[in-house]
Symmetry: C2
Subunit: 375 residues, 2 copies
């Protein structure tokens, strides 16, 4: 992708920093504290710190792997993390020096910084006015990322096309017995998406045959056991292309099904259709979640998870379509999210139907073609 795509994204942050009177912000993307904002703003895909200066509008990347940064990164300044003893506060001082951030400046650290971590910054980086808050730079970057830009939609349409190709292949191969076990199904997806240029699956594929589909997320994710025998089997996967992952769930329903299973499938399809019909500019995402909860409640059932979530550089990002009372997200054009109603019963098995929806100015566009496959 062009350098300008990344610098344009950083410009959004610089403008926000100026308005907020923040002199430098810090992003962190390490094990346990992943944040793809760094990839979004620089292209660097893994393990790094990023510092942005509002005044000079320059970015300073501190990668763990400098060979990786040489290949992928579009920041103005790059110093290896080992130059700073692999210590974030030492790196912060290094960045402040290069970016000419004077003592007393307002420096915002990641909103996910632990309480005790925050106290350490305040003590050891006392030359600066350390700020840590919700709805700061992390929240702002996540809000920007929730509305996809043109470059992102181009990439995502490619990811969706690969996903749809795999869905059709999977339907054919599973029904005809060419992928008999959970391992076969999961490895088929992994190999075929990588052969088509994907970085891999976006998360560990969940392939749960009828004996295990009553778990929301099967554990282990897939095994040597049969897939798609009689009853309900769930297949939840995503293809990650240039960082962006799809997230779809197919249910394979091999007959004869009993009445309880038929009811679960029908309710899930009804809930999905209802949710999709409510997707429009400005709607409260929670309201859609509540409408689906109500459909299940009237049938004396309950969905144990949220209705959907944003997708992009992360498999779960803004907006949330959960019915939780703290959910205030509104859907807007450019947002990309899943709808994934499902029901789980220890005796009957589980079913889930999940597709990826882009809200355009003209209404919802369903980018993927996952479905309940009865056979």
């Amino acid at each position: 992708m062009k350098t300008k795509v990344y610098s344009d994204r950083r410009e959004k942050l610089y403008d926000w920093m100026t308005a907020e009177h923040i002199d430098m912000v810090m992003f962190e993307d390490f094990e346990g504290r992943r944040n793809p904002g760094i990839r979004w703003m620089t292209g660097n895909p893994a393990d790094a710190l990023l510092f942005l200066s509002a005044e000079t509008r320059r970015s300073f990347l501190v990668p763990w792997d400098s060979n990786m940064a040489l290949t992928y990164c579009h920041a103005e300044v790059v110093y290896p993390y080992s130059d700073f003893d692999r210590d974030p506060i030492t790196a912060l001082y290094g960045a402040a020096s290069v970016l000419k951030i004077p003592p007393g400046s307002r420096v915002e650290i990641p909103s996910v910084t632990s309480y005790t971590g925050f106290l350490k910054y305040v003590e050891e980086a006392g030359d600066y006015d350390i700020i840590c808050r919700n709805n700061g730079a992390y929240g702002e970057a996540e809000n920007f990322r929730a509305v996809k830009d043109e470059e992102e939609l181009l990439i995502y349409r490619k990811a969706a096309a690969i996903t749809n190709e795999l869905i059709d292949l999977l339907e054919e191969k599973v029904i005809t017995g060419k992928l008999p076990t959970e391992i076969d199904v999961a490895q088929f997806i992994e190999a075929e998406c990588r052969k088509r240029g994907c970085e891999g699956t976006g998360f560990e594929t969940l392939a749960a045959g009828a004996a295990r589909s009553h778990y929301i997320h099967a554990f282990p994710s897939y095994t040597a056991e049969p897939f798609a025998g009689p009853g309900l089997s769930i297949l939840d996967f995503g293809c990650k292309y240039q960082g962006y992952t799809t997230d779809v769930t197919l249910t394979f329903a091999k007959g004869p099904l009993n009445e309880a299973q038929e009811t679960m499938l029908a309710l899930t399809e009804t809930a999905y259709a209802k949710a999709l019909s409510m997707v429009k500019d400005g709607v409260s995402a929670r309201k859609i979640g509540l409408a689906v909860d109500a459909i299940f409640r009237r049938a004396k059932k309950a969905m144990p998870h949220g209705l959907g979530h944003g997708i992009g550089l992360e498999a779960h990002e803004a907006p949330s379509l959960s019915s939780r009372k703290d959910n205030t997200d509104q859907l807007r054009p450019g947002m990309l999210f899943t709808l994934e109603p499902g029901l789980y019963d220890a005796r009957q098995g589980g079913c889930r139907l999940e597709n990826d929806i882009l809200l355009t100015e003209a209404g919802p566009e369903v980018l993927t073609r996952a479905r309940i496959i009865r056979f």
Copy 2:
């Protein structure tokens, strides 16, 4: 595993809580804040909150997936997260009510709680004295987990045996061209370990052919490109058995190699041997890291990552064998950790040799048989 194994582990925490005058502690294992302490203390492998009461010595699990908890969990009380609106503070009040924790009690929340999250607990759970600190319950559980118990070592020996079987198979198949691409190698490991009862690989396998081995962690982790062509190829993987993952790295060195590559391999083997010779009860782990850094420095090279790390329910846990100045860990019998010296050069490629070491009363025992394979 037997219920008593888990209750014995919780007893250690209860004793510690009593000594620390903590009435209730909370553990959290959710996306973005993973903590396998819950699995260690209850058997529940995923997505849950756990509350422990020192006074009544009872545990209260709040799983996201209650079907999962029915199958795996050994806690005394289990309530589904949906009963608490999937909100941690609501769950905390629920746990306090069931476990009979009176207002004013000292309640310790996860040490990783963000600064802003902490403020929310203080505001919304004001009936309790909320404590958040480093070296609290999370640190204590991690210290307990760093020294493996008998049940853990039984499981780990099985994980290591599967890993060693795969190493031998990989050597034969890679050298004879039966696994020509990175995808082939990675999928062979994934399928074969699951067929042998593993939950999967412990982390995404890194299979980097000669064109990509100069990255510490190849990105993407594996591709359709050739593996083990002329030069240096790196294969880093782990087998996860009943939750416990191994972590090994093989280097495949296909000749003819140039002098620079031969030097890299020899230095890596020298560093590995030196590190292993220093492993003993009471030694400073950092000192071993510094000794390896010195070997590389004398050859005008540098290793861009730490020398090793504890392994167990996490691929990276205590102790650390990094040479960072804040590393104060000491090696003790029962600890299980990697040694993984490596060198990376954008022109020559990379090499790394990583094995899993158990420190016993009698000295180090090398559990895995990864090696540099010259062919």
